[in-house]
């Protein structure tokens, strides 16, 4: 028993060390465990699809008026998503035929370790102490990688603006939070389907509700661990979160964890390649040098042999020539002597 306990602790330590390291590699570690981070709990069993939250959001954030009024509930007949003029929307789902519909609000989930912040190459997104993830349009280049990265498809873009397009998304009413007020949507909800509080406390409330009414809820708090956890938490009636349009396969790895390995490889590549390549170049060069030296040695040797042969042949020829010359001289001398002797004889005779 004790031993198992110890091993469990060891394993837990290993896991926390592992995640700690990988999260730090992408330097978003400061986000973890914000002590007073706020959040919102959405209870889909309480939402009646009245769109009061949409109206409040529109007003509080001074967004353009929609084509259809907020009290026109016919818009609920089609599934919508957030756009540059709408930070939040409520959709209607019918998980089981014949049973009453379920409504689900969607907006930025204000991740604990936001994919948008991790993906932004000018650090325009920031997870604040309040829990809200905020965006700074004054540095945004408009690459829209935040939109690609967001697993919840939340950030939207002002595609129709030529000079000042912005990424638009729910701010959790960050300016209001700083003033000590509630987010607009939470304040407007007539059914307390939205509850603002500290995330830690909201989690307790969520699990209490799930445990307090057995069989009513899916036994899962959506956002507790999805993508490393989000500040918005959801509880929903059975059968599933998928039935109200939520992706149940997001996994628990946060965005920084997903990319930390690739980022960690940068110093490795930058460190190893120059050494390896310079080494390869040195080997190639040395091979060339050795080949060149061998070639030169071979040429020198060949020249040496050839010239020695030539010298030997020359001296031989010279020797031969000398002998031949001597003979010729001897012959000539003998001839001359003979001729002289003959002449002398003839003279004596005369």
């Amino acid at each position: 028993m004790k031993r198992r306990h110890f091993l469990g602790l060891l394993g837990a330590a290993g896991v926390t060390m592992g995640t700690g390291v990988s999260a730090q590699a992408a330097s978003s570690a400061d986000v973890k465990g914000l002590p007073n981070a706020g959040g919102v709990l959405f209870d889909a069993t309480r939402c009646i699809g009245c769109r009061k939250c949409e109206a409040a959001c529109n007003q509080v954030n001074e967004l353009p008026k929609p084509a259809k009024a907020f009290d026109d509930l016919s818009v609920l007949d089609t599934i919508r998503r957030t756009d540059a003029k709408t930070y939040t929307i409520v959709n209607k789902y019918v998980p089981e035929a014949g049973k009453p519909p379920v409504f689900r609000k969607s907006q930025c989930n204000h991740c604990m370790e936001p994919a948008c912040a991790s993906a932004c190459f000018v650090a325009a997104f920031k997870k604040t102490e309040t829990g809200a993830v905020v965006y700074d349009e004054s540095v945004c280049v408009g690459c829209r990688y935040c939109m690609v990265a967001c697993p919840f498809n939340i950030p939207t873009y002002e595609y129709d603006k030529a000079f000042t397009p912005r990424v638009m998304k729910c701010t959790m009413c960050y300016p209001r939070l700083l003033e000590g007020k509630l987010p607009g949507c939470v304040e407007a909800c007539p059914k307390e389907a939205l509850l603002f509080g500290k995330r830690r406390e909201l989690l307790n409330i969520a699990w209490d509700r799930i445990g307090g009414t057995p069989g009513r809820y899916v036994e899962h708090v959506y956002g507790e661990r999805e993508m490393g956890g989000t500040s918005w938490l959801y509880i929903a009636p059975k059968p599933s979160f998928a039935a109200i349009g939520m992706d149940e396969n997001l996994g628990t790895a946060s965005a920084p964890e997903l990319t930390s390995g690739a980022l960690a490889a940068v110093p490795a590549v930058a460190g190893i390649w120059p050494v390896l390549l310079t080494g390869l170049y040195a080997i190639t060069k040395r091979k060339d040098k050795i080949a060149e030296a061998e070639k030169q040695a071979a040429v020198a040797a060949a020249i040496a042999t050839a010239s020695a042969d030539a010298a030997a042949k020359l001296s031989e020829e010279l020797a031969k020539a000398e002998v031949a010359n001597k003979r010729r001289i001897e012959v000539e001398v003998t001839k001359a002597l003979e001729a002289a002797a003959k002449a002398a004889e003839e003279g004596e005779d005369a």
Binding site: S27, S28, R81, T82, A84, A115, A117, S118, A119, C120, F121, V122, A123, A124, V139, C140, V141, G142, C143, R144, Y145, M147, V148, A149, P151, N153, T156, Y157, E158, Y159, D160, K161, A162, F163, T164, P165, D247, L250, G251, A253, A255, P256, L258, T259, G261, A262, L263, A265, V266, V269, A270, W273, P274, L277, T278, L280, Y281, T284, K287, D288
Partner: protein, 391 residues
């Protein structure tokens, strides 16, 4: 034969007319884009923030410009001196390729005048895109320095500066390999953050390695393809050294490509095996995955291998453009086709005429710049004044 391309009397060749139409359409689309916003010319949406300007202009553009680092590394680091004649065309292609990637980015980002921000103003160091941006920025500078001697030989009188640049060749080459390794792989790593959006057959932790490996054979295949086309149109510009090394290079790159493609194929299969993703092969996306992998990796790889073994240059020259198309297909799959696969088809993306026009416009600019430079500067031949130089 020698100058009929540059001195032909009429301006209205079929190519020039086509280029003119594309340029005119491109200018119209450009004006629309920069006066009425991105939405006026694209089919981009909140669900599909990246279209072909990223999928084609950036991802394919960078992969296909990889011939610069592969060729210069082969020649200067690995000591294949025979490839020397091919270095300059490859560097030029890479330089133009990257320059156009950056040019095209100005259309895609919302506020292009802020493109220097991530480098000089506020750095988002947790972002893979930051790494891509920084590497591409530095590598474009490196390619410019590698290309510069050509321009300095063309406009004479800068021998001192040319000499300095030539001395830097080895350093620039090594730097180029480092930067290419980093940003080629990072383009794949961009998609590591979206496990829920990219189809499991394409999403794997190996994406960065796969992007890097495929950039190698993409670059080499482009060098073969570009060399074959250039031979047809710029043969009169080519000197003995270029022509001597040319066949050798095509065979060597065919062999190297075949090996790297085999390794790449192994990675692809390993990616499926590691997470037991085999069942996906029997779905519609599985058929498409097999089409990509068998049709555009296995088959061209086989052609390269057989072409090399039999010294069949024709087969090699078929395999090269085939591989290039395969790379484009792969980049399209990752960025567009297998991306957002769970969205209902009504929410899926298809490029607009405006987006296609701009992409064609960018390619056309590249071809025009390439033609301008190779008909005037010493790319396919050694400048007579520098016959003794080894660069």
């Amino acid at each position: 034969m020698s100058t009929e391309h540059t001195k032909s009397g009429t301006l209205f060749t079929p190519w020039n007319i086509l280029a003119g139409i594309i340029l005119a359409a491109g200018v119209v689309a450009t004006i629309m884009r920069f006066t009425m916003g991105i939405g006026s010319v694209t089919n981009l949406s909140d669900n599909n923030p990246w279209g072909i300007w990223i999928g084609f202009d950036l991802l394919c553009g960078v992969a296909l410009a990889a011939g610069g680092y592969t060729t210069s590394a082969a020649c200067y680091i690995f000591g294949f001196k025979r490839f020397h004649g091919a270095v300059r065309p490859a560097i030029l292609t890479a330089f133009l390729g990257y320059a156009l990637v950056v040019f095209a980015l100005n259309y895609d980002v919302g506020r292009p005048w802020r493109l220097p921000y991530p480098i000089f103003y506020q750095q988002g160091t947790t972002s893979i895109l930051f790494e891509v941006g920084l590497c591409v920025f530095i590598y474009l500078t490196v390619l410019f320095l590698e290309y510069l001697p050509v321009a300095l030989e063309w406009k004479r009188g800068f021998d001192k500066y040319r000499g300095i640049l030539i001395k830097l060749t080895m350093g620039l080459t090594i730097f180029g390999v480092i930067l290419s390794t980093l940003h080629q792989s990072s383009l794949g790593a961009l998609y590591l953050i979206v496990p829920s959006k990219l189809h499991p057959l394409w999403y794997t932790p190996y994406l960065p390695v796969m992007f890097f490996m495929s950039s190698m054979f993409a670059g080499m295949s482009m060098v073969i393809t570009e060399g074959t086309i250039s031979h047809k149109y710029f043969h009169h510009k080519m000197d003995g050294e270029y022509n001597e090394g040319y066949l050798d290079l095509q065979f060597a790159f065919a062999k190297a490509s075949a090996w790297v493609m085999a390794g790449y194929l192994a990675m692809k299969v390993l990616g499926l095996a590691m997470d037991n993703r085999w069942p996906y092969l029997f779905t519609g996306y599985g058929a498409w995955w097999l089409f990509e992998v068998v049709g555009f990796v296995v088959l061209p790889c086989y052609c390269y291998a057989v072409g090399y073994r039999d010294r069949n240059i024709g087969l090699v020259r078929v395999a090269a453009p085939w591989t290039v198309i395969g790379i484009m297909l792969n980049r399209f799959d990752v960025s567009l086709i297998a991306f957002n696969w769970q969205l209902p088809s009504a929410d899926r993306y298809f490029p607009s005429i405006g987006e296609i026009t701009i992409s064609l416009f960018v390619i056309t600019l590249g071809i025009i710049a390439f033609r301008f430079i190779v008909t005037r500067m010493p790319i396919f031949y050694v400048h007579p004044a520098y016959k003794d130089s080894s660069h």
